[in-house]
């Protein structure tokens, strides 16, 4: 399915220290183009920090990041997003006072280039409504298109965040616990959605729910105390004694 040598994201020695304490240390990631790659690990393992480094929301202490053949180690976060590496947040991130449709439209608006035209009417954005509504429909939110995002239920906010991210049509998606806080009834829908979203792009996903990880991902990287503990497919990783040790040691079970 995916060419093992076609890597879209490669990190070398990625390290982040907070006051001498390494939250992420010496992480080498190799992510294949077109794959769904899961990153798992106990709480505090450094998964979110890793995402923050990849998107430059935090500057790395050491190491390099190559995305799609270009060194992005020194890029700004907005530049990285424009290159097609787009993240979601562990705590759902929407624009609460804007309607669900406007939320998605903010992402669609970016294709216009810079939106510095303060002298133009919002009517300019009307042609984007159709596409925005379709994206909402795909995540099952068309019926709340006009509702302010802040008033949506938690699961709906997560779905909206996903729709907004997909509106950018990124090359690669970073999803930080997309299933957290999602009710049972929406579980399958979001899972299917991630699968659809991954059809023509790469997904790197942090997820605690191991059954989702097992069913969705092609490859898994296990992180513990900031270090890569194991890397491989689900079968290999699940049998790894170090992984079992880390999970039991931290009191967390899949």
């Amino acid at each position: 399915m995916t060419d093992p040598d076609d890597l879209i994201l490669v990190t070398r020695g990625l390290t982040k220290e907070f006051g001498g304490l390494a939250a992420v240390s010496d992480v080498d990631l190799r992510i294949r183009r077109g794959s769904i790659h899961a990153m798992i690990g106990p709480n505090g393992a450094g998964k979110t920090t890793c995402f923050n480094l990849l998107t430059k929301f935090l500057p790395p202490s050491r190491g390099s990041i190559v995305f799609d053949g270009k060194d992005i180690t020194h890029d700004r976060p907005d530049e990285i997003a424009r290159r097609g590496l787009v993240r979601s947040f562990q705590i759902s991130a929407v624009f609460p006072e804007l309607s669900a449709l406007t939320n998605v439209r903010i992402a669609l608006q970016r294709k216009r280039g810079g939106s510095f035209d303060f002298w133009r009417s919002e009517e300019q954005l009307r042609p984007l409504n159709e596409a925005a509504l379709q994206l909402l429909e795909a995540v099952g939110l068309a019926h709340v298109a006009t509702v302010a995002a802040g008033e949506l239920a938690y699961g709906q906010k997560r779905a909206l965040e996903l729709a907004t991210t997909l509106a950018l049509d990124p090359k690669m998606l970073l999803l930080d616990e997309p299933m957290a806080g999602i009710g049972r009834e929406d579980f399958r829908r979001i899972e299917a959605l991630i699968r659809t979203a991954a059809a023509n792009r790469t997904v790197l996903m942090v997820e605690h729910n191991l059954s989702i990880v097992a069913s969705l991902s092609d490859r898994i990287t296990v992180l513990a105390r900031g270090r890569v503990l194991a890397d491989g497919d689900y079968g290999t990783v699940a049998k790894d004694p170090a992984v079992i040790e880390a999970y039991i040691g931290s009191g967390r079970h899949g």
Binding site: A93, P96, E122, N129
Partner: protein
């Protein structure tokens, strides 16, 4: 909460709560009523008092736009009001510029200063941003004190000629000047409306709501914030320069921190994020200052009390309260 049921095909009928056409219709009505009130006002109140209210309302409008739509709290807006006041007064008195040019020059100077102060302050968030704007404004205040050859020091620039608008309309007549000031105010109102309901305004609101998310969508948020700050400074400058022509005076009070405080007061008392908030706030604060002037220091105390009441009891200010009663956005 009533939610229309939608499908992909009915997108043309889609009515957003923040939709342009709906909002425009609603605001047009409010705007026309306001214009009518302004037309009648000089027959029932002193034009000079009204002009003072309108200048501060315009000032409030600029602050309201920045905080309400950009989430940026400036404690140093007097810098832009004051600089334009000095520039406008100087240009009209010593440069012999026509009043409209003096006002435009004042507003432009403030826009430039705004882009510089904005670019510096935007590097910090929240209260740190506010403190930096305050510090920069204080810097301008001290420069104004130290350069009496330009600013007239304690005396300010007095006896600024009102001149003739476009070389035709004699602004020495209070009624005539009032009409011009009312026109400037209404134009300012439309200017703000255009900005906050433009593609640019949408991004500003998104940044206000959640800046990291806006960055993660690929927006270079700093540039948007600096532009909004610059536009707000230009508007504050428009207010300051107009004030200098109306009162024929530019003084240290215009750049003083208490003027920065006043615009916060006006906006919050009137109602943050509302169209009529700044004018209602300005009406309340300016009236109070005029009527309480005899009580000296007590003016400040009463102002403080009203401020506390408005902020703690009326979260949307006076206009916010009326909005709640009438159920329509004003």
């Amino acid at each position: 909460m009533t939610v229309p049921v939608l499908s992909g095909s009915v997108v043309a009928d889609l009515v957003l709560p923040d939709d342009e056409t709906v909002v425009r219709r609603r605001y047009r009505a409010t705007f026309l009523v306001l214009a009518l009130v302004l037309a009648i006002a000089p027959f029932v109140a002193y034009p000079v008092f009204l002009m003072q209210v309108l200048c501060f309302a315009l000032f409030g409008l600029s602050f309201n736009m920045l905080l309400g739509y950009g989430g940026l709290l400036s404690f140093g807006h007097a810098a832009f009001f004051g600089l334009a006041s000095y520039v406008g007064a100087y240009a009209a008195k010593y440069g012999g510029l026509a009043p409209e040019l003096a006002i435009v020059l004042g507003a432009l100077s403030s826009a430039i200063l705004g882009s510089i102060f904005g670019a510096i302050a935007i590097r910090r968030q929240g209260i740190y941003f506010a403190m930096i704007t305050l510090a920069l404004a204080q810097l301008l205040y001290f420069v104004s004190v130290q350069t009496p050859e330009l600013t007239g020091g304690e005396n300010g620039i007095q006896g600024v000629p009102r001149g003739k608008l476009f070389g035709l309309l004699d602004l020495a007549d209070d009624r005539m000047l009032y009409a011009v000031v009312a026109g400037i105010f209404l134009a300012g109102l439309l200017f703000v409306y255009r900005i906050v309901r433009s593609p640019f305004g949408q991004i500003c609101k998104a940044i206000r709501d959640n800046e990291p998310r806006a960055i993660s969508l690929g927006y270079r948020t700093r540039h948007y914030k600096v532009l909004l700050f610059t536009l707000s400074a230009a508007l504050a400058g428009l207010a300051g320069a107009t004030k200098a022509i109306v009162f024929q005076l530019a003084s240290l009070t215009d750049v003083h921190w208490s003027t920065s405080g006043e615009v916060v007061l006006i906006t919050l008392v009137g109602g943050l994020g509302t169209m009529l908030g700044p004018i209602v706030g300005a009406l309340v604060i300016v009236s109070m200052q005029n009527y309480l002037a005899n009580f000296g220091a007590w003016t400040t105390v009463v102002q403080g009390a009203i401020f506390i009441v408005c902020v703690s009891l009326l979260r949307g200010g006076i206009v916010g309260l009326v909005q709640k009663w009438t159920g329509r956005a004003l």
